[in-house]
């Protein structure tokens, strides 16, 4: 579990009808820890009976200790975290925020950075841009969004010839082939956005002969809702119900079962839990377990993954 700070919301600004920017500051204006481009924080939301924790990329200047900013897209079908942020949080609200963690850092060895964002996946790049500016490293940013309503980045991006925006409702599409050809040797590519965009970029890069080490991706993942299911804990014999709008991790936390975590998005590996028995199918939604590990069904990442079937027993 990460170290946390109690911060106060000082600004709430709708960027588009779907996306809102929140600014947090220390109540006594104490400086916050600075961070590195691409870092995220985990925001705690006491939603009725439930304690939700969602990870959001920081979009403010990594070198600015006066406050942290995030942009949250309202997900009508999500588990409710983003709805909570949109409906319950106003200036003056105090919230518990983790210290920044970075799972999507720039590779400082790169000669040039090519950033590719889809939809709300623009958020980690907003802090990357500030860091690139500070380090004076060459980059280009390609930003695709379905509509202007979704394109929260438009308001936050500086005007620059190196920033290219494609709105698909307006008939513009990102040409990955073109982006990925003729880049200088030593270029690194970073992609963040929906699953489909990430695999499209990684596939296209593979076809164009890009080395694996030069490709970086962050799936924009918050735990998907799903059907309710039940888990049993091997050591205590307890059974725990996971509701449709809860992640397994949230359900375990609500039942006061201690689980280590950091990213809550299936990327860091911290919450890895052994499965003692599994009669059914684990829906692995994480990016941590290997293909073989998934098939074995002997491990589960409770922050992201769900289960359908007769019985799932965790080694807890």
């Amino acid at each position: 579990m990460s170290k946390q700070m109690m911060l106060e919301v000082t600004e709430v600004e709708p960027l588009t009808p779907l996306v809102t920017r929140f600014r947090f500051e220390h109540p006594e204006k104490a400086p916050l820890p600075i961070f590195s481009g691409g870092a995220h924080v985990v925001v705690e939301m006491p939603d009725g009976e439930m304690l939700r924790r969602n990870a959001y990329s920081l979009i403010s200047d990594p070198n600015d200790a006066s406050g942290y900013e995030i942009a949250v897209r309202r997900e009508e079908t999500g588990r409710g975290g983003s709805r909570y942020m949109h409906s319950e949080v106003t200036p003056g609200t105090r919230m518990r925020i983790s210290v920044p963690t970075n799972l999507f850092a720039l590779d400082p060895r790169a000669r040039k950075h090519v950033l590719i964002a889809g939809g709300i996946g623009i958020t980690p790049f907003l802090s990357h841009l500030r860091q690139l500016d500070l380090l004076q490293q060459p980059f280009e940013l390609h930003y695709a969004a379905r509509s202007r309503d979704e394109a929260a980045g438009l308001k936050l991006l500086p005007k620059s010839a190196r920033i290219h925006v494609q709105i698909s409702d307006e008939g513009n599409r990102m040409d990955l082939g073109e982006i990925l050809t003729d880049q200088p040797i030593g270029t690194h590519v970073y992609v963040c956005g929906p699953e489909g965009l990430i695999s499209a970029v990684l596939d296209a890069a593979a076809r164009h002969g890009w080395p694996k080490g030069a490709l970086h991706s962050e799936a924009f993942a918050s735990p998907p809702p799903g059907k309710p299911f039940t888990v049993t804990l091997a050591k205590s014999g307890r059974t725990i119900e996971v509701s449709a709008s809860q992640s397994l991790l949230e359900a375990l936390e609500a039942a006061k079962v201690e689980i280590d975590w950091s990213c809550r998005g299936g990327a860091c590996g911290r919450c890895e839990t052994k499965v003692a028995a599994c009669d059914g199918q684990i829906e692995h939604n994480d990016h941590w377990l290997s293909r073989d590990e998934r098939a074995e069904q002997k491990k589960i990442m409770p922050c992201m993954s769900r289960f359908t079937g007769a019985a799932l027993v965790l080694d807890l």
Partner: protein, 347 residues
């Protein structure tokens, strides 16, 4: 109490010594009467007042002389300090964390004034005063990592995280226990740990790597490691093995108590905020067997640990040739009485 700095050497006449105060606060590395390789990580800083765990970067009576010894080693071999170009930001991170910590923890020794990026650093023990612009390397006499580690006890490695691994891409290494920065630079976590016997089979490294990768800023950790060195020499590098290796043969039953040193490493781990790199300081404490045995609990325990240790580890730790003499010497301090748990001496 203001610190008195010893005037001493770590080579030649080896005039290095520990005062009684320094002995009592040694980070003795054994918490029980046997040794098994383990990751044994705990939060840092944090520990009894006056102990080497109290502050983020411990400054003790050896500070000034250790920094002189580092300067000599660097004069002979500048490659003991290297930083791949992409590690400069991590160097500034390290400089910041050390200057801020020392100025807060040792107000009488160090002062840091910051006005935006215009910084003013005063290091009284070394008589250094420097005004510079943070993040502008042209305003320092050398790179930021070299600058601050010439003023900080212990070796330093800066690890860059990529491809799910950690790469040693910068370091200042002049008091290493037989490993070489010039050899290890650019290697990943598993490559530079390759020589440690047993640990690999135990899966210790997979766990340690996973732990380090998940480490967040504002949470730092430490662990203790140890080895044995003949004479209080800081620079026991492979490059200079011809200078210190033969000294192993100078041990006799008469001089073993003074010449044979327990070399304790206080390793700590820090996630650096601006670069997201990990800093890995390795602080070395040296104490001869005589020093250790002034604390009855430690004398008994060290005897049992070194007597019963796995032979491969005795070899790896470099004292197998003298093990009999060492254990013989220590046996006079072991009356068979039980020892209390934990590393601290009995009051």
């Amino acid at each position: 109490m203001t610190l008195q700095f010893n005037d001493e050497t770590f080579r030649g006449d080896y005039s290095y010594f520990n005062t009684e105060h320094a002995i009592k606060r040694l980070p003795f590395p054994f918490d029980r009467d046997e040794y098994v390789y383990s990751v044994n990580i705990e939060a840092h800083p944090g520990g009894p007042k006056g102990s080497p765990f109290e502050f983020r970067f411990d400054v003790d009576e050896h500070y000034v002389s250790e920094m002189k010894d580092r300067a000599i080693t660097l004069d002979d071999d500048p490659l003991r300090c290297q930083s791949l170009p992409h590690m400069e930001l991590a160097g500034w991170d390290l400089l910041e964390i050390i200057m801020v910590s020392k100025a807060e923890d040792y107000t009488d020794l160090f002062t840091l004034h910051r006005d935006g990026n215009r910084w003013h650093w005063i290091n009284r023990p070394l008589g250094i005063e420097q005004r510079f612009t943070f993040l502008d390397p042209t305003t320092l006499p050398c790179g930021p990592m070299e600058y601050i580690t010439r003023q900080t006890q212990g070796d330093f490695a800066l690890l860059h995280e990529r491809d799910g691994n950690l790469w040693m891409d910068a370091g200042m290494v002049t008091s290493q226990a037989d490993w070489s920065l010039d050899f290890d630079i650019g290697m990943n976590f598993f490559e530079w740990h390759a020589p440690v016997p047993k640990a690999k089979q135990m899966g210790v490294f997979d766990k340690a790597l996973k732990f380090l990768l998940a480490m967040q800023q504002g949470q730092s950790y430490r662990r203790l490691n140890w080895t044995m060195t003949v004479n209080p020499r800081l620079d026991t590098s492979p490059e200079n093995y011809h200078k210190w290796g033969p000294e192993k043969r100078t041990i006799t039953p008469e001089n073993v108590g003074r010449k044979q040193h327990l070399r304790i490493e206080l390793q700590s781990f820090w996630r650096l905020p601006r670069s997201n790199a990990i800093a890995f300081p390795i602080r070395c404490y040296l104490a001869c067997l005589e020093d250790i045995c002034t604390q009855p609990k430690w004398g008994r325990r060290l005897h049992r640990v070194l007597r019963d240790i796995d032979p491969t580890l005795a070899e790896y730790k470099g004292f197998a040739v003298n093990q009999d003499m060492i254990v013989n010497y220590l046996s006079q301090f072991d009356d068979g009485a039980p020892t209390s748990p934990g590393i601290f001496p009995d009051a």
